[in-house]
Amino acid sequence: MFEPFVDVVPSFFGWLNQGPLTLTIFLHTVIILPMIWIYRQEKKRIENEG
């Protein structure tokens, strides 16, 4: 699952790139997760309005 790092120059993104999909899953997650917080806020707002 985890393969040796092969990038020419080490960098933060290269370091996250540790094997199949590690980097891209990380980026997708940090983009999507905060939507939970937006969801909760909006739910509260709708409840208050109703």
């Binding site: 020419v8 120059v9 960098s11 983009i31 937006i38 739910k43 709708i46 109703g50």
Partner: protein, 217 residues
């Protein structure tokens, strides 16, 4: 009245769109800083000290370039070897080589190369890809293209072809005469040699390794 769902709420989606767009843009900018540092051009000192750069400095024209399989990375990479004569010299200074590369890069744009050829795989598909053209065996000592021009070296053969392309038809589809001068041709050949030294993560695969695979039987 039934409670409204957040999932069908415009404000929720508007805020989500703003967040996703903004954060993706921030990530792209961050990645751009990281990548820009990695693809900045190397120097003559880097070449002399054996420092590997994804995009080597212009004085890479003083060296022999090959395209070798790297077992650790699992694909071919350009390898910069010993000194090699380029138009009879192997001691171009950083300024001289930089000026040649500048002339060649400008030349590649003012003659609209990308509207027939591909460079790094981008452009038009009417003529061969030029990413590793410098390493093409056809331009080498045994190659048909070098023989066709009657020149002694690869760089002189390429420069001769570029100046008088329609004198040397290689195919029914010919390169037109674009008014390329001798100096511009020299610049273009150093641009091509420099481009072949760029680390393109193994593109194109198997370049020049299999000859006559189709018609060779």
């Amino acid at each position: 009245m039934a409670k409204r769902s957040v999932w069908s709420d415009n404000r929720f989606w508007q805020r989500s769109a703003a967040w996703v767009t903004g954060f993706a843009a921030v990530l792209l900018i961050w990645l751009t800083f990281d990548t820009s540092a990695q693809i900045s051009m190397g120097t003559d000192a880097d070449l002399k000290n054996g420092v590997t750069k994804r995009v080597p400095g212009p004085t890479v024209i003083n060296y022999k370039i090959t395209y070798e399989m790297d077992t650790k990375r699992g694909h071919e990479i350009p390898v910069i070897g010993e000194k090699e004569l380029f138009f009879g010299r192997d001691d171009y200074s950083e300024e001289e080589a930089g000026a040649l590369l500048h002339l060649g890069k400008l030349g590649s744009q003012v003659k609209n190369c990308m509207d027939c050829h591909t460079l790094l795989g981008n452009g038009a598909y009417y003529a061969p890809d030029l990413t590793k053209a410098w390493l093409d065996p056809a331009w080498g000592p045994e190659g048909s293209l070098q023989a066709m021009t009657g020149k002694e070296t690869k760089e002189e053969a390429m420069a001769e072809f570029l100046q008088h392309p329609s004198q040397y038809p290689t195919h029914e589809r010919m390169m037109p005469n674009l008014g390329i001068t001798a100096e511009e041709a020299k610049g273009l050949v150093s641009f091509l040699k420099h481009m072949s030294s760029i680390d393109t993560n193994g593109f194109p695969r198997n370049f020049g390794k299999i000859q006559g695979a189709v018609h060779g039987k």
